[in-house]
Structure formats: structure tokens, C-alpha cells
């Protein structure tokens, strides 16, 4: 139980976090003070007969700036509602294996005494768990590392003045609201950092500093006579990067574009449903990849470990070596791609980041794995897919960045459109839903254009498509060349019980699918 003394703390813990995680930028070794704190867990665990122990000491920081502008009905006055917030969270979690079972406990009070106490809690939990344990936990081997890894960046976005961020969003939102027919405009920036220290009883000591930047612009239009409202969004690539990335987002230029497109969307006629060819842009297809390729190739799902919530998978271990998609489909699991949200130096098992082929020209090759599951399908090492979303949560198998290889250089967007007689081009994210084995899905989008007779025509509305995953990926007959390849992030990937959130990126080129069921929605 947390006592009041522990709750309030006895030292300046914010200052402690600052001291623990600060280090010269080019330093390659963790702060010795972190190593000393971690030692309190490792020593206590050993004394309690734990066969394995790791500790993560983590500081999360989250800076959010947003601005919404609406026109007040009656007065025409422009109402601005800003939000300026900074959150931080600092604490540690200890994981142990005792009697062949995992135990975990966590606390926000980062002192050697509390670390030792919480290690005892984790041991008690592991011992209790061991009473219902069909087989002992077995970890794939991993090298011991002593390292420090930092998201490549030039300027730390959290050190940039808030005034500069507010100024940018004011310009962007004002741009959206320049057309009085647009009901509301909003924009936001979200800057996150994670200081993470990992130490294990197998000799690893790893300090990491991870950065992520997200931004978006939204426009909403309302037709009161028809009683409908429509929106249009611009979501630039969410990136693991420094502030130098922000100008590349082109927020202002795209604010002008969505200002006009939201009105086009409001007036757009509904789609005529039926079988159609789809041309899916990377900022849309990324989510289809996420749901129908990345999730079903998670080993824990395939083996039933997520059966009570996220579900199992239509891709089972016996599918290794079998065709599950067309020859145009090659997917890589990866934690090393520049600027991708899932890119790290090491995962939360202390495994060095790597990349691996999931699907090669339509043939299923390998699952995403962690140290405690790789052996269950006869693999010798983990693919480094262990992750926890906080110091207070348990690491488990989370997807890495999963991306689709681009097609041949001479496959252009124009060429793919010219080969479609009756189709829809879909841009951006909309509604998305998929079953618990990842067979049946329905996806919407943010904006839709009709393709008729090989030409992109005007915008249409109320589009979703439904498909069965293996049929859908078999229906893929072209993906554009490398110059079209883009990666986009998703920041709210939920899995596990209690639910944890993950951020990863999915890259691809515009890709074509033949004869898919397109439905008319409300």
C-alpha cells in the first residue's frame, strides 16, 4: 500500500528524473545513477530466488497544443478555444520470473527502498501465478548490451518555445477559417518523449530517449437544410523526429486545401454501391495494413494469448510457407526505419532492434515475436517486438513498424488509374472495424474520388468497403513505385488487458485492389 510519505515523496522527484536522464548527447553509456537504482531490483530479485529480473525506469512527457475556431451564430464573432498542456509521468516497473512464472509490480516513487519493496511485490505475484502455470516461462537468448540510444534528431521538440507552436497553429487554423462557409477549423500538435532505462539480470543496461511528433488540421462543414455535416482532415506523417521535421508537415499549405475540400465533401453525391476497383493512397492503406496484416501476424494472437479480448488470428503457425496474398505483396516487420514511430534501439526485453520479412511476394514467412514466445514456434531468437506503454504496465508482444514494399519504378499512380474502369480512390483514415480473427473488415476513408473510364473524377461521399482479408490481399494487382512510397503513423493501437496503447508506422505506395464490395453508408 502506498503510504502518504511515499505518495508525496521525500525528494524533488522531478529534479531527480531530470538528473537521471540527462546526459551528453554523444554519450554511449547509461547514467551510473540509473544503474545503481536498478541494482536494488536485481539484487533483491536474486535474493528472492528469481531466475530472471528486469527493471524499466521511465519518464514520459507529453506536450499538447491545440486550437479550435468556430464562428458564433448570430454575431459572426470568431470564437477561439486553445488548449496548452504538458503532462509528465515518472516511475518504474519490475518484472521477475520465479518458479517459472512472471510477476510484475510498479510504483511512481523512484527510490532504492521502494524499488526493493516493489521487487518483493513482483516476486509475491510470480509465486502466486506459478500455482496455475501449465509450463515454465522460457526466454530466447539475448546478448547483454550496455548502450545509450537516442531517436535521431537535430532539435528536441520539447525545448522549442510554446509561443512558436501556438503561432503556427493560429496561422493554420485561421487559414481553414478564411472561408466563412467552413463551420469550424482546428489544428493540433502533440510532442512526446520517453526516457527509458532498462536493466536485466542477464547483464543489459540500456538507456534510450525516444521522440515522436504528431500534427493535424481538421475542417468541418454543416448544411443545416439537408441536416448533414462533413469533415476533411490533413494528418501529416507522424514521425519519430526532432522539431526540424515540423516545416516538412506543410500544415498551412494543406490547411488551404482541406478548407476547399470539406465544402466539396459536403456537396459530394453518394457513391453507387457495388463491386469496384479501389485505389488506396498510403495515408489510407496504412490502416488497412495495420489491421489486416500487422495484427494477424502477432504470434501471441495466433497462439491464443489474446483470445479474451483482441482475439486470435486467421494466420496460424501452419500457414508459414503458404500463400496468403498476391505476388505484389511483400511486408517487412521492422524497428529500424528512419522516423518511424515504432523505431527504437532496443525493445522492452532488451533485444536489439531488427527487421524481418513477414510476407514475401504473398507467401507468409514469419510472426512478430518476443523472448518468451519465440520458442513456442521453434524459433531461436526474438524479433524484438516486446513493448509496454508506460512504466506501470507489463511489456508484451506489440507490433513493430510493418510496411509494404513498393512496386516497380515504372508503376505510376496515373498508370494505375488509367487501368480502372469503375473505381474509387480513397484518401485518409475513416471508420475501421475488423473481426477478432482479422477476416472480415470494413473501412471508410476521409475523402473519396470516383474513377470512371480510367480517369479520376469528382469527389463522392458515404463510401466504405467490406472484404475478407485473404481475398482482399489476393485481389491486389499493382502497387506504385518507390517514388510514391510514404509512411504514416498510428498512435492509438490498443491491445491487451488492461488495454495498452502503441504507436507505430506503416509505409506503402498507392495500391490497387480489383473488384471489392463498396457499400453506401449513412
Amino acid at each position: 500500500m502506498l503510504t502518504r510519505r511515499q505518495f508525496i515523496g521525500t525528494s524533488a522527484s522531478a529534479a531527480l528524473a531530470e538528473r537521471l536522464f540527462s546526459a551528453p548527447k554523444d554519450s554511449k553509456t547509461p547514467n551510473p545513477e540509473l544503474e545503481k537504482l536498478a541494482d536494488a531490483a536485481l539484487r533483491r530479485a536474486k535474493k528472492q530466488q528469481a531466475t530472471y529480473c528486469d527493471i524499466r525506469i521511465v519518464r514520459l512527457r507529453d506536450q499538447r497544443v491545440n486550437l479550435r475556431m468556430t464562428t458564433e451564430r448570430g454575431t459572426g464573432r470568431l470564437l477561439s478555444v486553445p488548449g496548452v498542456a504538458e503532462d509528465s509521468s515518472f516511475g518504474f516497473g519490475v518484472r521477475v520470473i520465479v518458479n517459472g512464472a512472471w510477476g510484475f509490480a510498479a510504483s511512481p516513487v523512484v527510490t532504492a527502498e521502494e524499488i526493493a519493496r516493489i521487487t518483493n511485490e513482483a516476486v509475491i505475484i510470480a509465486k502466486a501465478n506459478a500455482s496455475i502455470q501449465p509450463r515454465p516461462v522460457k526466454l530466447a537468448p539475448v546478448k547483454a548490451y550496455r548502450d545509450r540510444w537516442v531517436t535521431p534528431h537535430e532539435k528536441d521538440p520539447l525545448t522549442v518555445s510554446m509561443a512558436e507552436k501556438i503561432d503556427l497553429l493560429t496561422r493554420v487554423t485561421t487559414e481553414v477559417k478564411k472561408n466563412a462557409k467552413v463551420f469550424s477549423g482546428s489544428a493540433s500538435l502533440n510532442l512526446r518523449s520517453e526516457d527509458k532505462y532498462f536493466a536485466s539480470s542477464e547483464g543489459s543496461s540500456i538507456q534510450q530517449y525516444l521522440l515522436q511528433i504528431y500534427g493535424n488540421v481538421d475542417a468541418t462543414a454543416v448544411d443545416r437544410e439537408k441536416n448533414i455535416s462533413r469533415s476533411r482532415s490533413y494528418v501529416p506523417t507522424q514521425a519519430a523526429a526532432g522539431w526540424e521535421y515540423v516545416p516538412e508537415m506543410n500544415l498551412e499549405e494543406n490547411a488551404q486545401r482541406i478548407r476547399e475540400e470539406v465544402l466539396e465533401h459536403l456537396a459530394a453525391p453518394p457513391v453507387k454501391p457495388g463491386k469496384k476497383d479501389l485505389l488506396l493512397m498510403p495515408n489510407h492503406l496504412m490502416l488497412t495494413i495495420h489491421e489486416s496484416v500487422a495484427h494477424p501476424t502477432e504470434l501471441d494472437r495466433a497462439l491464443g494469448y489474446e483470445a479474451n479480448y483482441a482475439g486470435t488470428s486467421y494466420i496460424t503457425p501452419d500457414k508459414i510457407g503458404r500463400r496468403i496474398a498476391s505476388e505484389h505483396c511483400t511486408f517487412i516487420g521492422d524497428r529500424t526505419s528512419p522516423r518511424a514511430l515504432g523505431t527504437v534501439g532496443y525493445d522492452d526485453d532488451g533485444v536489439k532492434a531488427t527487421s524481418f520479412t513477414i510476407i514475401d511476394k504473398g507467401i507468409f514467412k514469419s510472426f512478430q515475436t518476443t523472448r518468451d514466445q519465440a520458442h513456442l514456434i521453434g524459433e531461436k531468437e526474438s524479433h524484438g517486438c516486446s513493448q509496454a506503454d508506460s512504466w506501470a504496465t507489463v511489456p508484451f508482444q506489440r507490433m513493430p513498424n510493418v510496411w509494404m514494399k513498393a512496386g516497380p519504378p515504372d508503376t505510376t499512380l496515373e498508370k494505375m488509374i488509367s487501368e480502372i474502369d469503375d473505381g474509387v480512390l480513397i484518401d485518409g483514415r475513416g471508420s475501421y472495424s475488423i473481426d477478432q480473427q482479422r477476416y472480415n473488415f470494413q473501412f471508410g476513408g476521409d475523402a473519396f474520388w470516383e474513377i470512371k473510364g480510367g480517369k479520376k473524377r469528382s469527389m463522392i461521399s458515404r463510401v466504405s468497403y467490406q472484404a475478407r482479408t485473404p481475398d482482399f490481399w489476393q485481389a491486389c494487382d499493382a502497387t506504385a513505385g518507390p517514388s510514391y512510397w510514404r509512411q504514416y503513423g498510428t498512435t492509438g493501437d490498443a491491445k491487451g488487458e488492461p488495454t495498452q496503447i502503441n504507436s507505430i508506422s506503416h509505409g506503402c505506395s498507392p495500391t490497387r485492389f480489383r473488384s471489392i464490395d463498396v457499400i453506401l453508408t449513412d
Binding site: 515523496g9 529534479a15 496548452v84 439537408k226 486467421y314 471508420s431
Partner: protein
């Protein structure tokens, strides 16, 4: 866990640190213990403690917000200073209202001390009961048992102070055939961990799993459905966002009238549909204050089929001359659920099934996502037990299907209600809901998922 006096002291300490005229604090502390199981063994268990202090300061209409989990005096001082610096450069908020002064918050009955303190010795026997039952049937069990204990305190410089403790627990299980050919689910949220009935849940999930073996494909289309209470809650709770007064009056909800105005007072639903909130209902935890820090009170949204109220936050109430709505959860901010109650009837589930000539029995729903935020059309899938009803009896297990429906149309098409109970869907929606029979439920495609 932190006491009222201790929370008050921390808040006073933080409030004294700011020179700004307005400062609002929200202090939370939580303790969570859970055990997950799968493949007939425990996979993860955790005990964790968290706390957080949110500091929101305002001067000249400009607001800065900082939240921290470092509560020592030096960290508090740093955080208040940081919030003040943010406020100094933030643009003014056109919709800001003066701070709320002291309030008398009602007592709610949201805490069970035994649940709040429960640890592995009280939780693992439930897990064992379920796994043993699955093993006996040569089946495979997965699931979660968890309990939480949460303290929230609010305070501001205008003299507001509130303190609230709550606890909750739940047990859910999915039991599958070893060859993956069938699956059954059962779940129980409970204010009291001691009231969790693991034996009953195991029996229910096993029975579903046995009955759902070798499901048959039905032609997609509109069907009469019997939604079990969890499935009703999965969908009906999503109606909440439509009651935002502001969004409705701005023409953006299902309650907006074409050309302007609202549908308040209209008989939109059958007379037996009543939807309300009650923060004092002992069956589920709630909050003694609204998101605007006013005292919570019971409120009815749909009264015997008629749209009774919209949810006015303080700002929109001040613009429209209405009183702010005392709802414990904000409808306009994507909230809802929580203390939401849909009144039920007297019929048992068996009686509901018996009343259907041809239809489908739905255990629960999964991956529900909004398709149209205005009509509230949603899509999602049936899961862990779908059965054909013919002449009042379950005859055939049916392959899962995707649905495309709004809770608004569902309630309009509802024919009869079963008994109401507290439910918690897979995606976290908690409310009190009845099983129901509804006609014309659109199921446009088949899902091969088991």
C-alpha cells in the same frame, strides 16, 4: 490510499504556490491489481500504483495546464510555475467562464473496502475455477480478473473542494474448443469482488462454446435479433454523444431538426424506452460531480420514448439561458456511459427468445466503430456465440456477421425488453442495460472468425 485530509493538504499546498487568480486542481490516485489467463494458465499479473496532479491556471482569460506525478514540494512548485508560463503565452479562450465556487457534492455509494484492497489470494481462486471447468471439458480458457481502487480530489482557488473514492472489479472469460472451432464468452462487472460468480461465468461460456460448434452461414440481410444485455449495452451507450445540446443546436447530431431546432419533446422511440442517468444507483460507480464541477443529479434523456433533455455544459448553458445539466458524465465531450441506465422489462432472456418466430440471438458485439457521427451509424461484429432462433427456440449455431446500425434505429425498432443488469462490453462500455428484441437489424456480411 490517500485520505480526504491528505488530499486537501496537497491541494492547499499547490494552490498557495500560484499568484494567478484562478487555479484548478484534479488529484487522482489509483491502485490496480489484475490477473490475465490464457491457454489454461496465468500469463500476466500486475499490481501497480499511480497518481497524478493536474494543475490548470488562468489569468486574463489565458489558461495553461500541466500534469505531473511528482508530488514533492519542489516538483509542485516547478509544475505550478510551468503552468503559469504556459498560460502567459496561451491565446485567450473565447469560451472561458469564471471558476465554480464551493459546492455541496452528494454522497455516492461507490466504494467497497474489500474490493479496494483485494490481491491475488482473492482473485486467483476465480481463475482456477474457470480453468478447472475448461479443463474438465477439454476446452481452453482465457480471461481477466481485475479490481481497481481510485481516489479523485478537485479543488480551486474559489473555494471548491471535492473528494471521491471508488472501487470496481470485473471477471471475463472466453472459452474455446481446443481445435478453435467454437468460442463462448461470459463476463460480469461488479462493484463487489466478492459477488463475482466465476462458476456461473465458466458454465455460461462453456455452454455457449458447446452450442456454437460448427456454425452455419446465413444469408446476409436484415434480421430480427435478440441482443443479450451486454450486446445492448455495447450499442446503446453510443447514443450518448447525440445528446450534446451544443452539437444538436449547431445541426450536428441525430437530434438536430432539418433547417434548425431540435427534436426535444418528440416521441422518437417506443413508449417502453427510457434512458437515464443516476449517480446514486448502487449498481455502478459514478461521480459526485459533473465535468463542470457541479453536483451530479439524476437526469432522464429519453422518457417513455420521448426525447426529454439535452446536455448543456456551463458554457453552452450560459449562451442559451438554460441551466447546466447535472449529468455525471459529459455527453458533449465524447463521454457518456458511466451511470447510464436503460430501463428494462420483466421478461427473462428465455422469454425473449420464445417470442421470436425467426431471428438471431447475439451474445455480444466487437470492434464497434462510428461510421457517421451525426446519424450515429456504427459498424462492428457479432462474437462468441450467434444462434438462429426458429419458432421461439434456438435451433442452429450461426457464423458471425458484421452489423451496420445506429443505436437510434435500434431503439426505434425495439419490440420488447428483458430484465436490466449491469454490463461491461469488451471495449469498456459500462452501463445498466436489458436484453431486447429488435426488428430489421442490418447484418450485411459474413465473418469467418471464431
Amino acid at each position: 490510499m490517500i485520505t480526504r485530509e491528505e488530499a486537501q493538504k496537497i491541494c492547499q499546498q499547490a494552490l498557495a504556490l500560484t499568484t494567478f487568480p484562478e487555479c484548478h486542481l484534479t488529484l487522482t490516485a489509483s491502485e490496480q491489481a489484475y490477473t490475465r489467463f490464457a491457454n489454461n494458465g496465468i500469463t500476466t499479473a500486475s499490481f501497480n500504483l499511480r497518481h497524478n496532479l493536474s494543475i490548470v491556471v488562468t489569468r486574463h482569460g489565458r489558461t495553461g495546464s500541466v500534469s505531473i506525478n511528482d508530488l514533492d514540494p519542489a516538483s509542485l512548485k516547478g509544475a505550478v510555475k510551468q503552468a503559469e508560463e504556459l498560460a502567459a503565452i496561451a491565446p485567450p479562450n473565447s469560451e472561458r467562464l469564471p471558476a465554480v465556487g464551493p459546492q455541496e457534492f452528494p454522497a455516492t455509494f461507490d466504494l467497497d473496502e474489500r474490493t479496494a484492497a483485494a490481491r491475488a489470494p482473492e482473485m486467483i481462486p476465480h481463475v482456477k475455477t474457470i480453468i478447472d471447468a475448461a479443463l474438465q471439458e477439454k476446452m481452453v480458457a482465457a480471461g481477466l480478473i481485475e479490481r481497481s481502487h481510485r481516489v479523485t480530489a478537485i479543488a480551486n482557488k474559489a473555494g471548491l473542494f471535492g473528494f471521491h473514492r471508488s472501487s470496481d472489479s470485473q471477471l471475463t472469460t472466453t472459452i474455446r474448443q481446443r481445435d478453435g472451432s467454437s468460442s463462448g464468452w461470459a463476463g460480469q462487472p461488479s462493484m463487489k469482488l466478492a459477488a463475482l460468480d466465476s462458476a456461473l461465468l465458466a458454465r455460461t461460456a462453456i455452454e455457449k462454446c458447446k452450442r456454437w460448434k460448427n456454425p452455419q452461414k446465413l444469408t446476409p440481410g436484415n434480421y430480427t435479433v435478440v441482443l443479450e444485455a451486454t450486446a445492448t449495452g455495447d450499442l446503446v451507450r453510443l447514443i450518448a454523444s447525440g445528446f450534446s445540446a451544443r452539437n444538436t443546436e449547431e445541426g450536428r447530431t441525430f437530434l438536430s431538426k432539418r433547417g434548425g431546432g431540435t427534436l426535444v419533446g418528440e416521441q422518437m422511440f417506443p413508449e417502453f424506452i427510457t434512458l437515464r442517468m443516476d449517480p446514486f444507483d448502487p449498481r455502478q460507480p459514478s461521480s459526485p460531480w459533473t465535468p463542470d464541477y457541479l453536483p451530479s443529479r439524476p437526469i432522464t434523456w429519453i422518457e417513455k420514448g420521448k426525447v426529454a433533455n439535452l446536455a448543456y455544459d456551463r458554457y453552452w448553458a450560459s449562451k442559451t439561458g438554460q441551466p447546466p445539466t447535472p449529468a455525471a458524465f459529459s455527453f458533449g465531450r465524447g463521454g457518456g456511459g458511466g451511470s447510464l441506465i436503460m430501463e428494462g422489462g420483466d421478461a427473462s432472456l428465455q422469454q425473449l427468445i420464445g417470442s421470436v418466430e425467426r431471428g438471431l440471438l447475439v451474445t455480444h458485439l466487437w470492434y464497434i466503430r462510428p461510421v457517421n457521427p451525426q446519424t450515429l451509424q456504427q459498424t462492428g461484429l457479432t462474437r462468441d456465440g450467434l444462434f438462429l432462433i426458429e419458432n421461439g427456440e434456438i435451433t442452429t449455431p450461426v457464423t458471425n456477421m458484421r452489423f451496420l446500425e445506429s443505436p437510434v434505429r435500434l431503439l426505434k425498432n425495439t419490440l420488447r425488453l428483458g430484465q436490466a443488469t449491469r454490463v461491461r462490453g469488451l471495449e469498456g462500455g459500462i452501463m445498466i442495460a436489458p436484453a431486447l428484441v429488435a426488428k430489421d437489424f442490418p447484418l450485411p456480411s459474413i465473418s469467418d472468425a471464431v
